[in-house]
């Protein structure tokens, strides 16, 4: 991770977008930062947490995005500049609070929400354009087009937020958040910050003073005024600019990382003197005058943005309201099918769109290049399926789940959500996962399935969640299941880490984002206090885990909890040596013969196990094997052997 606290104004540093945002927040003098980890947003808080002590600020991993935003708002209410960060799904979680916050207004400390979208859902359960929240809830929103802007915009938003008295959103996407570029640093403020809550509820005042969303219609009206004020600021923003000829064959209207793709595309097509690019940094409210002044550049306008036609619709709506004397160009974009309204874009897709609109034929490479390149790549890259790491406790847990459900024989189902354990939808988890939705969603779904006995439903229902997800969004669903006596088993896959997003600590770990020791919120104590049957198992003890699951399934009668506890192998492996040396006894291994049929390399599929085709025997890949020893339990011939290392 880059050093974001370096006090060297005017020098250039190589930052990923998330570090640039964190640096921008430091330059703005924030005092408080909170987030729930989620790719591609996580590095914002982790880089701030790393320097928090030095910089005299506070940073935390909150239990979920809603609490993160609320905590940041609390700090703002007491006059501290604060920031909350999250991925697109977090915006959904936090939306109820935001809807109230825009009515109540913020405190004296500027308040900024960073939302990182994941086009193509590379690390997400869903693809979603979070910018709509801006329009929906009247929150001004900007989107940086490069790393420098990511830093500069963040700093600027704090100033605007305090001046106008509203929350601002900075929207970023994966290729800004995670790509790396030069950032010219500004100064780090040296200021003492004192927090004090002095907001009063003055009923006699004409202007509402309380930090409450009432009276709502009046507050709503004020928020519209604030949005108009933001629009005025946006009209003059340096983050909006036009580059290109005065009279262009085509005007590209773009924002965010698509700005970079558009520049690449125009350059590749050698159309710099024919195609102009109008790049917008402030997206909502639309800087209408600025847009209008540039629309006359061409009769053809192509919108290039990720994911939804947000800018496209805003501009088209605005132009529709203009008098006939104003320019009314022909619009191309997602509505016309020239640009995808899903997935990430790239220069090739933009080249294709420009070529189609302008009637050009452009071929970047020879016709056969693509297939040739693929063939070359395939010859060097071994085929890999999505899988759990070698030694991952989740593989063992899903082995136990699979066997318990098969032994039970009533076609039991597993509902789930997003986390490493989502991989259980495929061969890694023996296809056990049958539903996958938002954080904690599987437990909610299990609540419904578990109440269908009166309709003849007898399939056992297991809901899987990760440890961090348990704290995030599962507890209400569990309480609901206990209260309404829904028949399901909550399986908490406690690998003692928020593993998928980078091992961030959570309430069950005992350390904070800033690395300080703290109380452990015991999940078993919490669940037991709800008055339900709770079991704790070591997933590596396959027999015990399977039997415990079988007993709990047979037991029936309301929501129950089983905690499968084993530290994430990637965390353990950093601290300790492998516990066992594991090898295959070739005398005992019967390979593909009846009595095995390569159970370990065809079904169990730990990457540490390989198939020696020549010998017709299984083999341990000593480089990959983590020495967990679980495969010694599944080998039907006892051919896989372990010895304490």
């Amino acid at each position: 991770m880059a050093n974001i606290e370096i006090d060297a104004p005017c020098t250039r540093q190589l930052f990923i977008g998330n570090e640039a945002i964190a640096r921008g927040a430091l330059e703005a003098g924030i005092g408080f930062a909170a987030a729930y980890p989620g790719t591609p947003s996580s590095e914002i808080i982790s880089s701030l947490a790393q320097v928090a002590k030095d910089m005299g600020i506070y940073a935390e991993w909150s239990v979920n995005e809603k609490v993160a935003m609320e905590a940041a708002a609390g700090a703002s209410f007491a006059g501290i500049r604060s920031l909350a960060a999250m991925k697109q799904n977090g915006i959904n979680v936090v939306s109820d609070f935001l809807a109230n916050l825009v009515m109540s207004g913020i405190g004296k400390g500027g308040l900024v929400l960073v939302s990182c979208d994941d086009p193509s859902a590379i690390s997400s359960s869903n693809e979603q354009d979070s910018r709509h929240i801006a329009k929906w809830l009247d929150i001004p929103l900007v989107e940086p087009g490069d790393f420098q802007e990511a830093k500069d915009m963040t700093k600027w938003l704090f100033e605007l937020s305090e001046e106008i008295g509203t929350l601002f959103i900075l929207r970023s996407v994966t290729r800004i958040a995670h790509a790396r570029g030069n950032v010219k640093l500004g100064e780090l403020p040296k200021r003492e910050q004192r927090a004090y809550f002095d907001q009063i509820h003055d009923l006699k005042s004409v202007m509402p003073t309380s930090l409450m969303p009432i009276p709502s219609p009046l507050r709503h009206f004020f928020q519209h005024m604030k949005v108009d004020k933001a629009r005025e600021k946006f009209e003059a923003s340096q983050f909006n600019r036009y580059v290109g000829p005065d009279k262009a064959d085509l005007l590209i209207v773009t924002c965010g990382s698509c700005w970079l793709y558009a520049q690449d595309a125009v350059k590749a097509l050698k159309l710099e003197d024919k195609v102009g690019i109008l790049k917008l940094g402030t997206l909502w409210p639309l800087p209408e005058k600025f847009v209008e002044s540039n629309l006359g550049k061409s009769q053809k306008v192509l919108f290039v943005e990720e994911i939804d036609p947000f800018l496209e619709r805003s501009v088209m709506e605005f132009v529709a309201s203009l008098p006939s004397t104003s320019p009314h160009p022909t619009f191309y974009g997602k509505h016309s099918g020239h640009i995808n309204a899903y997935g990430e874009l790239n220069p090739d897709l933009v080249i294709k769109a420009i070529s189609t609109v302008l009637g050009l034929t452009y071929q970047a490479r020879d016709a056969g290049y693509g297939s040739e390149a693929e063939a070359v790549a395939k010859s060097h890259v071994p085929e890999r399926s999505m899988t759990f790491c070698a030694g991952c406790p989740h593989r063992a847990t899903f082995w136990a789940i699979k066997n318990a459900l098969k032994l039970d024989g009533r076609n039991g189902i597993v509902t789930g959500d997003i986390g490493c354990y989502s991989m259980a939808l495929g061969p890694a988890g023996f296809f056990q996962l049958r539903t996958l939705h938002c954080m904690g969603g599987g437990t909610g779904v299990a609540n419904g399935l578990g109440k269908l006995g009166q309709f003849g439903f007898s399939q056992p229902v297991l809901a899987v969640v990760g440890d961090s997800t348990f704290y995030h969004a599962t507890i209400p669903a569990l309480i609901n299941g206990i209260y309404n006596q829904s028949n399901f088993i909550l399986v908490i896959l406690d690998n003692s880490a928020t593993a998928m997003t980078g091992f961030q600590p959570h309430p069950g770990i005992g350390t904070t984002a800033m690395g300080e020791p703290t109380k452990v919120v015991s999940m078993e104590a919490l669940c037991r206090s709800l008055g339900t049957h709770v079991e704790v198992c070591d997933p590596f003890d396959l027999k015990h885990s399977t039997n415990t699951l079988l007993d709990m399934i047979a037991e029936g009668g309301g929501a129950k909890v089983i905690i499968m506890r084993r530290q994430c192998e990637l965390v353990r492996g950093k601290k300790e040596k492998p516990p066992y040396r594991v090898w295959v006894d070739v005398e005992k291994c019967i390979g593909e013969a009846c009595g095995c049929d390569r159970l370990c390399t065809k079904v169990f599929l730990c990457p540490g196990l390989t198939w020696d085709k020549k010998a017709g025997k299984s083999k341990i890949d000593e480089v990959i094997c983590t020495g967990c020893g679980v495969c010694t339990e599944i080998c039907p011939q006892g051919a896989i052997t372990k010895e304490v290392a």
């Binding site: 699979k402 098969k406 023996f430 079988l550 013969a593 009595g595």
Partner: protein, 370 residues
């Protein structure tokens, strides 16, 4: 006539899901895919082997009775009602440790214990009634462990599972006590020796039990659990006809259920079984109508004959002749089972020429179906 090579998928389709599984356990123990659990065989994962031992040894897949008879007796399948027999007699144990605990005459327990002490076997796979009164297969390696298995509980039990689990390199000599379906599976193994399991030649003694039907273990156990305090139960018994009772010896009283109430728990597959007397065993043992405390003993092979002779010589067993009237009854009952089963099979297949798993010569089949 032998079963064509098939795998676990076909076993599941043709036998398990078709309701024909006897729970003998022949497909379990050595296989990581097929596992016994609470009264059923579960398929945990898909095995890709197309010539599976699971399918090969299943007593409900195509079985060439002449071929396996040839293997055991050196001659084609006997048309006798109770199969090939060298001698039929009645016997009872002289061992006080066995009397009372064992069913009827205690012959099975006595023969096993003798086979162990004489060195004919080093252990035996048996069915044990556990403290919770479930039937569990065990590999007994001592006299004490054999005694613990004395007595019947009438529930189907995958007794061949522990046999299959014995390591390949284990050379222990083994005995097995089984019902007709279990003995049939074992005989199929003898006919085509299994791979990657202990040598089938180590099986030195097969004691068969008389059987009219077995109870579905999970369903029946649940029934008993609802009706009785199982911790107080000592013994189960179905006294010979015409009693028509299922007796549970409990403390302080004996509790009897009408046999018809118990029949609802019989394994559906038993309706398709031709064999009442474990026709492929070395020696078969069952009750005797009207002579309490004695067992009927059908000696079928030299091994069986030798063992019974030693037992007599060493005064472990007392023997007597089986009254002719009893023999006639026994044969009548055995024949009735064959006829009923074949009819059921023909009904199921819809064709008298398609006898599903039963590999009988057309002539024999015709006679039985007449």
């Amino acid at each position: 006539m032998a079963a064509e090579p098939k795998g676990c998928k076909e076993l599941v389709n043709e036998v398990i899901e078709a309701g024909l599984c006897t729970l003998c356990g022949a497909c379990t123990g050595n296989c990581p895919y097929l596992v016994y659990h609470k009264g059923r065989i579960a398929l945990l994962d898909n095995c890709t082997i197309s010539d599976g031992q699971c399918y090969k040894y299943c007593p409900r897949t195509c079985t060439d009775l002449d071929a396996i008879s040839q293997q055991v007796f050196g001659k084609p399948y006997s048309e006798e009602e109770i199969g090939a027999a060298k001698e039929i007699l009645i016997a009872r144990t002289t061992d006080k440790r066995v009397r009372g605990k064992a069913q009827y005459g205690g012959v099975v327990t006595t023969l096993l214990s003798l086979a162990l002490t004489e060195g004919l076997i080093d252990g035996a796979v048996l069915t044990k009634t556990s403290d919770d009164k479930t039937a569990n297969p065990v590999l007994a390696r001592s006299e004490k462990e054999i005694f613990q298995c004395a007595g019947s509980n009438y529930m189907a039990c995958p007794v061949l599972g522990p046999y299959n689990q014995i390591p390949r390199d284990d050379s222990s000599k083994l005995g097995i006590v089984g019902t007709p379906c279990q003995v049939l599976a074992m005989t199929k193994m003898k006919n085509t020796p299994p791979i990657n399991r202990a040598n089938i030649r180590n099986v030195k003694l097969v004691i068969g039990l008389f059987c009219t039907w077995a109870l579905s273990p999970d369903k029946f156990h649940r029934f008993l659990k609802e009706k009785l305090d199982l911790s107080k139960v000592k013994k189960f018994d179905i006294p010979p006809p015409p009693a028509n009772r299922f007796d549970v010896y409990s403390t302080p009283d004996k509790i009897s259920f009408p046999l018809d109430e118990i029949r609802q728990f019989t394994m559906p597959t038993c309706a398709y079984c031709l064999d009442m007397t474990s026709e492929f065993a070395d020696v078969s043992v069952g009750s005797v109508e009207g002579i309490e405390g004695w067992d009927t003993v059908v000696i079928r092979t030299d091994i069986g004959a030798e063992l019974v002779k030693t037992a007599k010589d060493k005064k472990k067993l007392e023997t007597d002749k089986l009254p002719l009237e009893n023999l006639a009854h026994l044969k009548e009952a055995a024949l009735l089972k064959k006829k009923r089963a074949l009819k059921e099979i023909a009904n199921r297949s819809g064709d008298e020429k398609n006898l599903l798993y039963v590999g009988l010569s057309p002539n024999s089949a015709k006679k039985l179906l007449a």
